[in-house]
Chain length 712, copies 2
């Protein structure tokens, strides 16, 4: 919908939109429940303190306020206009705003490009022209508007706006669906997470999700952001925003939908085909300051942890419970979500045994039957234990709950580790006690599964944040100098031999091989490569070599070599009579663990690398991982650890371990190669790359480099 | 904790325990908040209508009731006793109950085998003796008791019992954790799901989870069961209960924990090693009338669907929404949970277009902008559409919500398909409208993810139920007659050749092969099997043939055959000098897609089969599936479809499809083999089984049969 902006653009200052001293409502209706009546009605009900100017040429008064015929007649200063006139009149209204010097407009009206037809497209074009002409910055059209909950500047309509229980708070919401955005606000509020700003982006004809996101991240009163994203072609912006979120230490809780819609361009390599758009979104979310959530309940739970403000240093959770059953539940849900449950330290154990209370289990979960008077002593001992980064504590229930809560809050305040409460009381009881625990900054959850999921996701962010400040390998260091590869003038694929030569120049080992023509092979007195060897037709025109029957492996004698060289050449010409055959390669045979290593210069996200184990299984089970380039050797090691098939490289079931370091170096070098030649290379694939036993390195047995289709 | 019972046992009738005309409380305390005071206090507060008899030798009155010195002195009829005296006195109290003719006792006291020490074990033994001697049937010890919410016979203690908001309903709960069981009750009640019976099993010294489960399934007032299970060695009971649940059409919502605790016996085959206990529990849950849930929120959601009583005929969901964003969310969450979203029929489309309302999308989700007056007309059209088995409808919000709800209920009542509501109103508003929708039998959920998960799981049950009444292949038909294989007198493994002969007798094709001794091979004038062939040492003593170096593949000439035969024989003797070598097999070489097919006679669950794709990946990624034996050909086809690697068999990326039918037959036959020889065979593994192209069958290239270790 909107043009792609450069990631380094200057973001607009939206202060006057969020804090207008006066608001004009163009098309304001006398019916407070109608869409065009709601903004005024909500602001009047909310006691918005700025000036309100209804514009309605056929009324002198609207909802008790003096109405103006024309926005240009309004005397007072107006910082923002809400436009709720029929679509056809919107461009004119905008231009009038421009003439009146109003800097911002929120267009609620739909019926532009959202119609999906020609009439809508024409009107959208007209709208763009008005925006350009007027100089007004526009939210929408086709949106439910912008809400500031701190001053009740509700330039908006919708069921959520009238919610009387709304309380402002530190979260800002940006949504590409108006209805869903208000649901996010409503449910967050219901779970005690207040918002300050809520924006519905609409068609994003002018102001875009990223304009709002940068504005909010840079506002001191915003502590976290929640975004509902339907689709985006702005990978570079997503990545830049993620880095900014880490920089300012404000997580972005992102709910990304539209992930089933796999519409990759036809790709020459497996890498491109295996990689769904969503994999790149997830890669961007993982890399940056995002926390991906799947539903509104999860969003609220994670938000509470963020707001509580205690960041765990790691994934080690201590579980305290008085119910064995709940202990098992909590422990399993933690482990299911990638948290770990170490045993308590010997010191803690000794200290606990000094108490008079019995323990059903002194492991982890710690199943205690402590008397009420000793509960906090026990908690104190566990909170001091350096074995744990954070805690899940099941509360007590019954008449002593209040007393317990008071001591719990007091004790937990002494640690900077997060302490999450699993709430044991009957849900209809003790609401005020629960609230006191929540106000003290503890996520208080009824459900072990939900709590564990939220804790795990918040922990991921905390670890990323820590790393951002403390880069693991003292920044990025290159193992290979930048080179300018000779890629020729053509487009499309290089042949295998050329592709491998490029890799070799970047220090990625390739098979020893020699390319001859058939006559030269027939004249050979001995094989230039020790047997066994492979022969392959070298031709840019034949992408799928196995399918074309132009590869023979495991040749042991000179006679076989000569015979098979002819066979593959004939196969090539049968397969594609017009193929230009550049020669026949004689290659050494290599064996090892096969991996597939790819790199793509994605049109939205930029260059990335992909790693998977070889064979059809990796693809079928989607056991692949991605990182944007360049990738340090350390990050490459993480990629190897991430794929489930990576176990095989470590030496599975007694096999000797493979050369994981060499693989990591190859990933790093390939990532440098694609970055250095970003706009010249579309895709690179090494398939297979053989990983040899530890110390013996890696060898690329086949490779493909596809040049970009565009002019440079 | 308890002995394994036969699945076909007669279950006790627990009516007098659940509906006692009189209850004795032995050790009743005057303190109503103490454990031994609570049962009386709860029953007095709950106005239990039966007679209450406190037994306390040092009091004449307890909590306002006349107390007895001894249970044998109670005049009135007593159907159940609650025992809350110190552990050491429990056996005596039980015996006194026996003398008094009391048929049931609930022992709350802990300190028996649950202590995990010798003193506890001794007391447990003493308790067993008392149970046998007295003839009293016992719940517990170490439990929070038994609750009947319909007559308030609360033979129990705990925070949940005092919940004033409890309302009886159609769900019965059985829990192996007392605390968690009460949480299940509390949260179900909070979400509008009432319970009639809640049982905490405790140590299960006498009455066991399965005694309660069968009692409840057979009681008319129980419509569904919820079970919290920590661990169980009673696989046969779990399976039998699952069948019974299907028979009586009452789902068992099961929350199974303790699944990370993988403690398989040392297994000779991959099959045994790959198969964690939990895989067998899941297999039993899938086979029977269970719905596995992961947390209390999910439990409540599924329970509401069960109680609503409309069973979907399939997985096809129609999604109706007025918010595009919510439509995407609902659709994605449905698909994520295995539900499908077909397009609406052409007829429905035509009928919808006759309405005056515009539609943002006429696909599925159906994104409508209908006027309020047309909402129900639209709904009517969609509900009639045979493309859908069930629906998710997002409600409207705002002032017309009540009106909408009324018409929604009226319209939805006309279909027997489930209609689930995603609730759009602000959660703090319109509670009574929501309640009216829920009372009309609709799950009304705030969260798309939770709703979709619950719907998917309930649909699984509905489909199982339907199948139970309409078996897909007219019952089970065997393709192979029962045979009595000659397994010899020994224990341990048969050699590969013997194992394959057994398979062949069950109609599972094996490689052509001949076993000779080294001298015979050296004297061969030509190879009895066409080249290429494999040679393998045949010896029961060598399990891991590849590791021992006793296999050579791809032999092409008679000379090589003779040389390699000697090589493998020598390797065998080097590997294990004491090995008894039964011969050297010359086998045909086969190629195809490798699968691993196993069968195990599990000590708890009985015989099962396992299928996975060959190679290390299936194991690493746990891409295997299990079924209890015998397995019909139809079920075997389902197994093949279930493994993700099964795509390869269908012909992946243009490969020709493999002989899936032959594989299914082999699975079926193997399942018959293990059933027919259940107590003689411990494990069977075919690894690899080659699946040839369609029509060409399967061939077992290696096989292992391990006989049972026990006497028969």
């Amino acid at each position: 919908m909107s043009s792609i902006k450069k990631a380094e653009k200057a973001w607009p200052d939206l202060t006057r939109l969020l804090y207008p001293s006066g608001v004009a409502v163009i098309g304001a209706s006398i019916k407070p429940n109608s869409i065009s009546g709601q903004p005024l009605a909500h602001m009047i009900a909310g006691r918005y303190e700025g000036k309100l100017f209804p514009v309605n040429p056929s009324r002198t008064e609207v909802q008790g306020l003096a109405a103006y015929r024309d926005v240009r007649e309004i005397p007072g200063p107006v910082d923002a206009a809400v436009i709720a006139v029929p679509a056809i009149h919107v461009p004119e209204a905008l231009e009038q705003c421009g003439e009146a010097g109003i800097p911002y407009a929120v267009v609620l009206t739909s019926g532009f490009i959202d119609l999906g037809n020609e009439a809508g497209a024409a009107l959208e074009k007209r709208l763009r022209e008005s925006i350009a002409k007027s100089g007004v910055r526009v939210v929408g059209p086709n949106c439910v508007g912008v809400m500031n909950l701190t001053n009740r500047a509700y330039l908006a309509f919708g069921g959520g706006v009238s919610d009387k229980s709304l309380r402002p708070g530190p979260m800002a919401i940006i949504s590409q669906s108006g209805g869903f955005g208000q649901s996010m606000m409503t449910f967050a509020n219901l779970h005690g997470v207040g918002c300050n700003y809520v924006v519905s982006c609409g068609n994003e004809t002018d102001l875009h999700l990223f304009d709002f996101a940068h504005e909010f991240l840079d506002r001191e009163e915003v502590k976290l952001l929640a975004i509902y994203m339907e689709s985006s072609v702005e990978g570079a912006h997503i990545r830049a925003l993620g880095q900014h979120a880490l920089r300012v230490n404000k997580p972005i809780l992102i709910l990304k939908v539209g992930n089933n819609d796999v519409s990759r361009r036809a790709a020459s390599s497996h890498t491109g085909r295996i990689t769904a758009d969503y994999a790149l979104f997830r890669t961007a979310f993982r890399e940056g300051g995002y926390i991906e959530v799947n539903d509104l309940d999860e969003l609220a739970d994670v938000a509470r942890l963020v707001i509580a403000g205690k960041y765990p240093k790691g994934r080690r959770v201590g579980v305290l419970t008085g119910s064995g059953g709940w202990g098992v539940m909590m422990a399993e849900q933690c482990e299911k979500n990638g948290l770990v449950l170490p045993q308590i330290s010997e010191t803690s154990k000794e200290n606990l045994l000094k108490l008079s209370s019995p323990f059903a289990s002194l492991g982890n979960p710690i199943d205690q039957m402590a008397s009420y008077s000793e509960q906090h002593k026990m908690l104190e001992i566990i909170l001091d234990d350096p074995s744990f980064d954070q805690y899940m504590v099941r509360s007590v229930a019954g008449p002593k709950t209040g007393e317990w809560a008071e001591k719990f809050i007091e004790t937990s305040a002494k640690t900077d580790k997060p302490v999450i409460v699993l709430w044991a009381s009957v849900p209809t009881r003790d609401a005020e006690i629960r609230e006191s625990i929540e106000s003290a900054g503890h996520l208080c959850s009824n459900y072990a599964g939900r709590a564990a999921r939220a804790v795990a996701r918040f922990t991921d962010f905390a670890i990323k944040r820590h790393r951002f400040d403390n880069p693991p390998d003292c920044g990025f260091s290159r193992l290979v100098p930048e080179r300018s590869l000779e890629l020729g003038n053509g487009r499309g694929a290089l042949n295998e031999h050329q592709s491998k030569q490029c890799l070799a120049q970047y220090g990625i080992p390739v098979t020893r091989e020699i390319v001859l023509d058939l006559g030269q092979i027939e004249a050979l007195g001995e094989c230039p490569i020790s047997f066994p060897v492979a022969v392959k037709v070298v031709s840019c025109d034949i992408g799928h070599k196995t399918e074309a029957g132009v590869v023979k492996l495991g040749i042991e004698t000179l006679n076989d070599l000569k015979r098979e060289a002819k066979v593959v050449r004939d196969s090539a010409l049968r397969y594609l009579p017009t193929a230009h055959i550049e020669g026949i390669a004689i290659q050494e045979m290599v064996s090892g663990i096969e991996v597939i290593l790819g790199a793509v210069n994605d049109v939205n996200f930029g260059p990335y690398v992909m790693l998977g184990l070889g064979g059809v299984y990796a693809e079928l089970l989607n056991d692949v991982t991605h990182r944007f380039s360049p990738v340090s050797v350390g990050e490459a090691m993480e990629m190897i650890a991430e794929i489930r098939g990576g176990e095989i490289l470590k030496g599975y079931r007694g096999d000797s371990p493979a050369d994981i370091s060499a693989l990591a170096e190859a990933i790093h070098k390939l990532s440098c190669l694609i970055v250095d030649h970003g706009n010249q290379i579309a895709e690179i694939e090494i398939n297979p790359l053989f990983v040899l036993p530890k110390g013996a390195g890696v060898v690329a047995a086949d490779a493909l480099i596809v040049r970009s289709q565009e002019e440079h």
